[in-house]
Subunit: 216 residues, 4 copies
């Protein structure tokens, strides 16, 4: 363990400030959460990107959202092959153990993962094609999405369309999980697709009727 | 796409409130983040648990932390087998593309994933042993940790020790990634281990010298 | 160079302590900052006063704030006359090169510069009226502010009002810089006014609606 | 005042944390500083750069350092022409009103202002030559320094030499102020030159005998 280092001072200081204010004022709620367990209303699947914190956008308190964050907010298809599937494990836990009522997939503008997928699929990022590229193999999940947008002429529009596809693909893949499908069909779970424009603070949602994104 | 539903009204309302206040007051910062790209100082690996939001504890603004969240804040070992490894992809992107200076693994009390691992490894959760259990297969990452704590007599202590092991195992596994090891050895990256007690608002950190957790 | 002296021992000692602890634990972050350049979120304009360190109040790490400090946290009006304008240079660099999203002007209680201006403008500090007084000529920037508060009867209140005026005058003057105005109007930059009460640890901010200071 | 915006939430939160911990624990000291006035031991002249916070390096508490920060830590020559000279005002106040015992000029690596001066003086930055460029006119202070280093062949070495010159020029210029010279000659004030290597955490000081910089 000699590779670990102490926490930077400014984070220690900020933690102590949080402890003396937010924690102290909400001690009863933290104790409740600890004693009674978590009962989140929704699972959020969003990107690791430092610019998109869903708790801020939705004014979420501790205990509200069960949040899985990965590169490009992707859900791979159902593959019960005995392998390690972190995203599938999170979905399984949220739906079968916590019985959340909503799964919200949140995409965003300027997504580095989606851009990498775009460049890889269009032949401009050979390094991402390597079998050893974790980002490349992860973004393979979105390859079918690229096929659907590749004929859009303008590159910026094409990349944006692929950001939308990342959300739609994840929702399609969620429905390949038997426990998700069953919960959705029993009206115990609803799925939602969002896309956040960082610069504009805009939020668009997937319209069930048209399959396209419209302003919230 | 007919399975998706519109966003619940209370979330729409909260979003609109955020847009009219936080976003509006910080519009310049969001535009800056969009125009100039993200330059996060650290990657955080924490649990999906709805009770542990690291951005709150550290008063973090948009743009500061690149955050990966999965069940039990686990990093599996390096396995460049061409498969889909979401966590490995996130680590690869953070270290090689964003060149973050810190990776902070954050464990916590009452972790459902760790408890499941404990029950599975001690023979009390046969369902998690099924090859089709995503949570079970994901928690296999922590099996070696269970071996190290299984002789602790008191169950509560044993489970807590396993929560600590989840952090330590992730840090050990991080060091199996060549690009992490190289960055750490070149002093371009440091690793940190934290554990948050939800009820007490306490934060403990992994001590490099003793390998045990001490209050921050 | 024979006028320079070696650094006092106690500072050498403190530096060595910092190097062996803070620097050593954050070496990766300092290397990152050096390799990737600075990307501060905000420019802070505050007083040289030894009692007001904004990095402490805001738990700021290296890399967060671009900080200009001068007597009485003043920004003079835009004067592109080919002369040497240190404050204007700092503002220009922050806005046009670093593209910071925020400029925060921070005033404070017991400001010696503001008190000097008050005494000068009320005829009690003839030395400051001298053309050769650098402090006097610098505080001329705040003369219009004195005109606005001079009728307040109580001296302590009048001086405090002048401290507020120092912040407001700076913000007004910032808006005379074409590149500031343009960035503000394009929503790429926002301005903020703060005043810190040293004794009470209180922080007040300029309210956009009323133009007066209210507790944060 | 409608151009100002409220302070971002995360800064409000951090301030409240500071108030409840650092301020609260040191209330007596803040009251002392407010009641008794500031009695700083030294004036620091350093760069606005967000990566160089001297209070951190020297573990400085409130009240210790009177800090002036401008682009490239420059002191212009004595020019009592009745104009606005912010740096000269800060020096005058520190020496004649506060009677500090030390002035420490702190330069640093990767200085954007020094690099700009280098590019301007070597004919590669025509925009900085414009009379309306505040950064360019401010960096004129360092033109004589450029003349002394321009024949160094390697560009990186030349720029570093110019960073050293920024410190030496400021110290030379300090000595053109009659009140500085008199205080130095009466042993009431000593001058110090430092240069901080950000990546290495190294600190070098100007050696009185050789006029070159040596490790602290």
């Amino acid at each position: 363990m000699s590779v670990v280092k102490p926490l930077p001072n400014y984070l220690v200081q900020r933690y102590r400030g949080w402890k003396a204010t937010t924690y102290d004022n909400n001690k009863a709620w933290y104790r409740h959460l600890s004693n009674e367990g978590q009962h989140p209303r929704a699972m959020i699947i969003s990107c690791c990107d430092s610019r998109v914190h869903v708790t801020a956008i939705f004014g979420a308190d501790s205990g509200e959202f069960f949040i899985h964050r990965n590169i490009a907010n992707l859900v791979p298809p159902y593959e019960p092959d005995g392998g390690r599937h972190g995203t599938s494990a999170a979905v399984e836990y949220a739906v079968t153990a916590l019985k959340v009522a909503h799964i919200v997939v949140v995409g965003h503008s300027s997504c580095g993962g989606v851009k990498g997928c775009h460049d890889m699929c269009s032949g401009h990022a050979p390094a991402l094609e390597e079998p050893t590229s974790f980002v490349g193999r992860w973004m393979d999940v979105l390859r079918p999405g690229y096929e659907r947008v590749k004929d859009i002429e303008d590159e910026a529009e094409r990349v944006r369309a692929l950001e939308y596809e990342a959300v739609k693909t994840s929702i399609d893949n969620l429905m390949t999980f038997p426990f998700v499908k069953e919960s959705v069909e029993s009206d115990l779970l609803t799925l939602h697709g969002l896309w956040n424009n960082i610069a504009e603070g805009a939020l668009e949602q997937l319209d069930p009727k048209t399959g396209s994104f419209v302003p919230v």
